[in-house]
């Protein structure tokens, strides 16, 4: 009898360890995040009090939250878009049979190999106004005649954070897209050549539609990485000047980890999680397989 049941539900038994692992590393933390968000929980004061949805109400009127959400949109939107465009260009170049391609591929990967904290510190040096390499380069090229303190102004500091981010993460996008490009059969391009298609037409009508699944993966992964990015922001600007580069991930870190306001920090975390889920589903909708041009 037992053997019969075991055989009947064999496939469930096989995936049971995976479900157990998922429950442990995904479901429980997510549930706990939501559960904690219903409490006033301050680790430093040792106070835990159930407050229901009050944290969510407070969040709605929290100026910092809205301000940092705006910064997050600018940061994630710019960094992901730029890295996607650059990734497309670079992967397209590396997909061609150019000389030294394998060396170029290795070099291209270097920024991605560097820990993000180091990337942030390196860019802080690069963007310094007195001895920074970026100012020196612009002055050599005659683009500016006075050093600019990039990290002193809110807008230029945000541009610095975005630059450091896409510099570090474009290789990741490139690899994903390159893998997609290399899976496209050569016959399609040969047929297009016979029809007299231009390079752009081949890219737009063959490459782009066929790498849509890769674009989806790259987009989702990059967005997830950027939304929760903390390392570069902290190492490069520390959220400043003022709070002009403070993003939701750093707000959550400050609230939960540094200030031990775990309840409210979890509330911001839940909202960020919901935003992320909505974004991922939006990407799935926009880039759904049916939208691929046949």
């Amino acid at each position: 009898m037992l053997k019969k049941i075991f055989n009947k539900y064999f496939h469930y038994w096989m995936i049971f360890p995976a479900i157990l692992l998922l429950a442990f590393v995904v479901i429980y933390p997510t549930f706990n995040l939501f559960y904690t968000s219903l409490f006033f929980k301050n680790g430093q004061l040792g106070v835990t009090r159930f407050v229901g949805l009050q944290n969510y109400k407070k969040l709605f009127f929290d100026e910092n939250f809205w301000q940092y959400l705006g910064h997050t949109v600018v940061y994630v939107g710019s960094a992901v878009t730029i890295s996607l465009i650059l990734g497309l260009i670079i992967s397209n170049i590396l997909d061609k049979a150019i000389k030294g391609r394998s060396v170029l591929r290795t070099i291209m990967l270097l920024p991605w190999m560097i820990p993000l904290v180091l990337t942030g510190i390196t860019w802080r040096w690069i963007l310094q106004d007195i001895y920074g390499a970026f100012n020196a380069l612009l002055m050599q090229l005659g683009i500016i005649d006075q050093s600019i303190a990039w990290l002193t102004d809110g807008t230029t500091a945000m541009m610095g954070v975005i630059t450091a981010d896409f510099w570090a993460n474009t290789p990741f996008v490139t690899i994903i897209l390159l893998a997609g490009m290399q899976s496209i059969p050569d016959q399609l391009y040969e047929a297009a050549d016979v029809d007299g298609a231009t390079g752009w037409q081949k890219f737009y009508n063959i490459t782009l539609p066929l790498i849509k699944p890769s674009i989806f993966v790259a987009l989702v992964m990059r967005t997830l990485f950027a939304i929760r990015a903390l390392d570069i922001v902290y190492a490069l600007t520390g959220g400043g000047p003022g709070e002009s580069t403070e993003v939701l991930a750093s707000y959550i870190y400050n609230l939960g980890r540094r200030w031990l306001r775990m309840g409210y920090g979890s509330t911001v975390g839940v909202v960020l999680l919901l935003i992320t889920i909505v974004l991922v589903f939006s990407f799935m909708f926009i880039l759904k397989p049916g939208s691929v041009r046949e």
Binding site: G43, Q44, R124, Q128, A149, L151, G240, P241, G242, R258
Partner: protein, 419 residues
Amino acid sequence: MRKLTIILLAVSLLALFSGAAVAQDYADEITVYNSGDLEHDPATAYDIQRFEKEYGVKVNVVEVPWQYQIDKLTTVFSSESDDVDAFVGSYFMLSNFAMPGWLEPIGFTEKEKEKFSPGVIKASTYKGTTYGAPLMLKDTELYYRKDLLEAEGLEVPKTWDELVNVAKKLTKDKDGDGNIDQYGFAYLGADKLGFTFRTFLYQSGGEMFDENLNPVFNSSAGVKALTFMRDLINKHQVTPNGIISMGEGNVGDLFISGKVAMVESVPPLHHRIMNSDLSGKASLALAPEGSAGNTSYLDGNVIYVSSFSKKKKTAKAFAKFMSSYESSLHELVREGNNSPNPNVFDDPRVKEKYPEKWVNVMQESVRDVKAENYPLYLQVEQNLRQEIQKALNGSKSPEKALDDAAAQISELYSMILGI
């Protein structure tokens, strides 16, 4: 002869057992969280070895970057864990850990306290109880290029006004390309911006909080301090614009590379200077006086003992050992960290290491240091720093920036602490 042997045997046994009794009083090992890694903390490493040898106690050191120390320790202590027996932390961490009851009183006698600069003991004391054993301190001093001042026939500035005048004369576009190649003056920015503000605040006669923990740094003294910091950059143009994002290391680099002629920085810089090409060209002076003197904000390290430790006696012995005259001396001679004990500067080993003038300046400077204890340090510091940055980059006036910071901190205290 036999009688003598018996007496000797008895005395030996007594000595053996009394020794064993002392040894048994201490734990075999303790765990200490150190601020930063010991590779860059040779004096601390050396004194830990001395303690281990002298007390027969193994010290397990966990190295934690100072920026993350509060986070890590708060996590440990909030779970009432006894994983940490003692830690080397900053003076400003006191309220954070003493307020929830996570620290053990260090147990200094009045005589022991008298050895230290009064400001240091005050900064280590929370609500009348001393919790920190002072290890070293970082006070603000003026580092200047002796050769550049002499070349211009300038005297070392003693007041803020003099500082501005001298800095103006030392700010130069050497190659005539329209870019300043040498700035007159710099102070510590980035994560140390709040420290710099407090030094200027105290020198203007202001304070951070009143006795009821109401923010009072937005007083006229505070506005004067922040206006001074802003004017050095924007009005007088003697301080680099990018100073907002330059911390202790960066500012030291600027000075050593000759990009800045004078800096207000903290002691390890004199150690760097002595090991650089500037040795002999640079010198040290007291920070120029504001309208209320030249009190310096007190930064630096103390040893705290965890109230959750099961080895408190050993941990306290460790803390006291590390704040002893000899350990302080090693901090000064081996690492260049100022001593919280002013008498250490009279030691011949200090005078052998540093020029006499420097020693005198250091000794006088550590006698007039100040730090206030207030809770939720990190949040307060972040609010303050953000608003200072806004005043410095011109997006807010100093008055508005300080009023906004004070309002945010009041709201924070009201929300979290119910004050």
